[in-house]
Amino acid sequence: MCPTRSGMLFAAMLEYLRVGPQQRDTQAGAEKLKSRRLEHMSRTIFILALCMAWIAGAPVARAADTTKPAVQDDGQWIMPAKDFANTRFSGLDQINAENVGGLQVAWTFSTGVLHGHEGAPLVVGDTMYLVTPYPNILYALDLKHAGALKWVYKPKTARAAQGVACCDVVNRGAAYADGKIYFNTLDNHTVAIDAKTGKELWNTQLGDIAKGETMTMAPIVAKAKVLVGNSGGEMGVRGWLTALDAKTGKIAWRAYTTGPDKDVLIGSDFKPPYEKGQDLGVQTWPADAWKIGGGSVWGWVSYDPSADLIYYGTSNPRPWNADQRPGDNKWTTAIFARSPETGMAKWAYQLNPHDLYDYDGVNENVLLDLNIDNQTRRVLAHADRNGFMYVMDRLTGKLVSAEPYANVNVISRIDLETGRPVMVEAKSTHQDKMVRDICPAASGGKDWQPMAFSPETGLLYIPHNNLCMDMEGVRVGYIAGTPFVGAKVAMKAGPGGHRGEFDAWDPVKAKKVWSIKEEFPVWSGALVTAGGVAFYGTMDRWFKAVDAKSGKELWRFRTGSGVIGQPISFRGPDGKQYIAVLSGPGGWAGAVVAGNLDTKIPYGALGFVAAMTDLGEHTAQGGELYVFALPEPATNQARGASPATAASPAPSPTQR
């Protein structure tokens, strides 16, 4: 479209020739020619200017140096949460609210695996990496050749680990740093793989399935330490966060969630915002109960390089039957701020002391600098299982605000002075007592599914649940390697009857801005872009794009199976912006399908089956990576690919 130099010369020549030879030599002819030339020149300059603007605005393809990707490089996606602050915001804007209606499948890839695909693909340079659910295969795909396989790494993940994973055999993704891909296997290995060759560089075993331990979380690499945590809160494991040396895989430090201060890495620098006392990780438990107390670390870790602090949360205490463990049960359901170098705790805040409902504290802590009351506050935003959105000073742990983002009837409010939730006594769970209509259910206002933040709208985009439950505590004995739960649970839809929502939330005003109701829990991650579009997936096989300002649906695509993965965006080697997401239902919410559970019995999957008996009518199992892009302009059709698609965008006359 834009004129080349020779083209311009040719055009000028044509113009000259159009003014006939006789006329050229006359005064009038000369004038005509001159004015024509001027006309032509100005037109050319105008077109040139347009082209310059177009070129400047269009993203430029870069040959990325895969050994030193910048964390801030918006063309890449080197950790599941996008950046250390866990914003899941893409600065790419080629796809925007106006054109996303034309989004189409560019290519797909079958993972070869069933079960819940909760992971995020990574993009480093011209390679995409993804880790599957058990058996945790790592694929490297060539973005220059529509996802051709570069290499495959298959860990020897123990089959028996499948029997120890509470909530489907998921894996939430790998992380890239310094030429290596790091990820966890279900059977408790953290591995480092050469990102170019697929060769295993180191492999460290961190836990034991015989004790009920597994690993499902995505590592984060901060200050040359690979930070990983265990799963197994339901199995009575003792939770921890471990730092491995990124080069050697040797354990640098391990911080337990429960036990004496020396195990929890609490020292003289520890300044908790609301608690006081020594060895609270022992004192707030019956004798020795902290040893099998839970507090596993299976969620997200974020990192503030300027404060030099990492942030993460700990799971629920064991067993669910709270009468067996009187006391606050510290430091379960807590957020920790620690030094990545030493692991020493700077502060800790317990969200749900003496948890009664399985409200794990592991949800992401999104690090934001917000203007609150005319001050710039360095905060974290945390949408907890208990249904409250916490905004906290991330340097001190003090609460700034805490407001419900979901239906809650177990807590009347969070006391900002004491930091404690004010509990509703009538909804307290106990052994041998059935309590009905507890909101939110054990899976919380939101579970692991991570929210995103847009610095352009200033809003958080929250995929979450609308579920309540009936629950009865049951006496349980501890048998190592078996679950230590002690509860009979049946979940159900929350008020309104819909089981999921995708909401926009203003963290400064602490208010919901808009809300999209969904049939099923929105168990996928969220993505939001500089193009003003937010993306999420549904368990009933839709991948959706909505306007980030208004929530209006702009595009949807019918995937092969339910979507619970984390969507990402990247710039391909061709300079185009792409959106990618994994489909394949499962996870705790989808266990009824992933595990072929009995829909006639409500208590399956820790009570989730009761709320999901119809999921099998909407999706079967699957495992597919989808990569979407805007189609080539009509004059430049891609190599034989016809734009047939199952997409149904906003009104567009060219769609079939």
Partner: protein, 150 residues
Amino acid sequence: MRTLLVASAASAAVVCILSSFAQQTATSNDQSAARHPTSDQLLSVPVGGYVIGGAAPPVANPYEGNKDAIAKGRQLFDAMNCSGCHAPEAGGGMGPPLGDEDWIYGNQPGDIFLTIKQGRPNGMPSFQGLPNDVIWQLTAYVRSLSANRK
């Protein structure tokens, strides 16, 4: 050391529970001890359901349909934490549901007995420490779940 203590305490607890079940059953069902399948019989159970050559007669559960044994089996199902993986009333969770028609490792008494005794490769642990009598009670309970559905 601590792990050892906890494990010993757990094992002691398990043994206590089990011995009470074993005793009760022995006194009320003396003949059943004589009808327990032998080791050889159990070893011949074709777990995959596919036999080359002639199959041995199927192994029978001495407690099949026995209401007392089924009731004890139900208690054991909770006490041994079967309900932790398979969910209360065996709806399924970490482990598959046990009351439906879909059997990964077979639904015959011998199949179920061996699944519990030996464990299975995709996550079912081996409860080999349990006395056979106790496993037969559990087998009776598990089989009763699908029988009750018909």
